[in-house]
């Protein structure tokens, strides 16, 4: 990353002595889709509101293209925010909502009309110009909220839970539309979300937050495959976490009583992660080399794949199997004995 587009330096914020943000540092590149991901109360929304200018940080600085914007009031900042509930103006129609921000700039009427039409086309809102906000659907409202921001041609767009108010089917479709839109316009997006799937599918990079601190920053693959700790591993997807023992150069996964043969240096790591989709189960027939025998405790058929809860010596973990790959597995039932296998390269070692 050369010159970072947005820099957040040592930002801290307290509300009545409750820490909302603690020395947060972040660098975001131009034209990046960056997600702030965390459960509620982790400080992600506070950080977004500080970037937008609605809250002042107690300490720290925010630089946009190298310029300190920490003290600028929101109406001067060259960025826009889309609210979770959209915060559209109910007394104005679609067009007036969209041109609200433009009217605050010194722009000619022709220019305003031109830009409003442009954005109406881009977001496929034609025909709704004169409608009131409560006369259009939730998906349309979301696009009006987006249009109201984008028509200002901001350098940075902040999105607070942009898809949370939509129903599930619309959400998936809108995810792709958002990414396409960002690609077309090249505007930097910062998205706040609590939905890890949303963050994974939208972002170039993401930050995992907890208790006002950033735990890990990385692209979705890094965060999923190489989580820094147990919290992140569990927060992103389903995690099977095992203890590892290093005894006389024998590396053993304790719960499975399985000896790892092809890896001989695990430094000081004491835990390992194997994602459920990397563990396969098969109805017990014959022995294989990294064999372990488990008992199926639960089966959840989910169409494209099936979730199995496996018990080995009283320790439970998950295995996810693609149904298309192993149709035999459809016959696995509760209380069946299965053999478990995984590739040793899919084991990821880490500390608590």
């Amino acid at each position: 990353m050369s010159e970072p587009f947005l820099q957040i330096i040592d930002v801290s914020k307290r509300f009545d002595n409750v820490v909302a943000l603690e020395k947060v540092n972040l660098k975001i590149a131009k034209s990046e889709i960056f997600s702030l991901l965390g459960s509620s109360g982790c400080g992600k929304s506070t950080l977004l509101r500080i970037i937008a200018g609605f809250e002042k940080p107690d300490e720290g600085k925010i630089l946009l293209e190298g310029k300190d914007i920490t003290k600028l009031p929101p109406h001067i900042r060259p960025l826009n925010i889309m609210f979770q509930n959209y915060a559209l103006f109910p007394h104005l129609n679609v067009t007036n909502n969209i041109q609200f921000g433009l009217k605050e700039e010194k722009i000619s009427k022709e220019e305003i009309n031109h830009r409003v039409n442009e954005i109406l086309n881009l977001l496929e809102l034609n025909g709704l110009e004169k409608r009131k906000i409560n006369e259009i659907s939730g998906g349309q409202q979301q696009r009006v909220a987006l249009a109201r921001c984008l028509v200002k041609k901001p350098k940075l767009l902040l999105l607070d839970e942009p898809l949370a108010a939509l129903d599930k089917q619309l959400r998936v479709q809108t995810q792709f539309e958002l990414v396409n839109l960002q690609y077309k316009l090249g505007i930097t997006f910062i998205i706040v979300t609590h939905d890890q799937e949303e963050a994974m599918s939208l972002s170039d990079r993401m930050a995992i937050m907890k208790n006002g601190e950033i735990l890990q920053i990385g692209n979705p693959v890094e965060i999923y495959e190489k989580p820094k700790d147990k919290y992140i591993a569990n927060f992103i997807g389903t995690a099977n976490i095992f203890n590892v023992l290093n005894k006389n150069n024998q590396i053993i996964i304790k719960e499975l009583n399985y000896e790892i043969k092809n890896i001989n240096n695990i430094e000081n790591y004491v835990k390992c992660l194997i994602r459920p989709e990397k563990i396969s189960v098969k109805k017990l027939e014959n022995q294989s080399d990294n064999l372990n025998i488990g008992l199926v405790k639960e089966v959840a058929y989910l169409g494209s794949y099936t979730k199995y809860l496996i018990d080995v010596n009283g320790f439970e973990f998950y295995s996810f199997m693609q149904n298309s790959l192993v149709s035999d597995n459809l016959q696995i039932r509760w209380d069946d004995k299965v053999q478990i296998s995984f590739s040793e390269t899919s084991i990821y070692f880490f500390n608590d």
Partner: protein, 297 residues
Amino acid sequence: MIKDLKKQNVWFVFTPYLWLVLFFFIPLALIFKISISVSEWGMPPYRDLFSLSENGLKINSTLGNYLFIFSDPFYIRSYLNSLSLAFTSTVLCLLIGYPIAFYVAKSKPSIRNILLIMLIIPFWSSFLLRVYAWKVLLQGSGIINSILIHLGLIAEPISMLHNHYAVILGVVYTYLPFMILPLYGYLVKFDLNMIDASNDLGAKPLNTFVKVILPLSLPGIVAGSMLVFIPVVGEYIIPEMLGGSDKLYFGKIIWDEFFVNRDWPIASALAMSGIVILVFPIIIFQLMYAKYNFKNE
């Protein structure tokens, strides 16, 4: 089961109507009857509308009372005084009440309830007492004059009582909660994100107020203004206690006609005219406003 419920509902709706008919329409009709009667000495001090004589049934009705009051500038001036008092105090209540309502609506729910109770507590004491308290405060030997003299700001007590400023003060003080409460009702539902959104889109705080907050609280402003304006037009007690002879108000005139001059027909005609003059513009306004709201919803 459903039938029973419906029956209950009918009574539920009917009771307030019964109340209205008994204590509002019937007295109003009686006042109207008196207003078209002929004044005379006696008890009651007007002639019966219908009387039986040798020539049969006679109707003793007249429009003379109305003609009389509309030909006398004295009555018209007092009515205009009352309208001007109502207008001034409505505007003042709005200017003072809006920031208060906004502040209460914006504060945390725990503090909000305390603030609301503080607004309502004065209602627990008698209206008369509250107005009388102002009399005590404002009089020559009152607390305000005493403090000013003590501080050396004035040498002699200022006469603050018995003029129309004291009346405006008393009216604004008394009617302020009627402005604040409906305004609060609308502002508390107001999504504060909209203020942030407006700021974020480049609107300065003043523009945000004019373009977003004000239009969205308009129904509250209308409701509050009605609640202040209409009763103040007929306000009698406050001008009587705090007012002087510089301005005469309509309520006081009606009182004097009833109880001092014992001219019930004139007093009734005044009351009826006052109502009619006020009611028609309000009905037209409400219809237009309802249409405007309908278009906006």
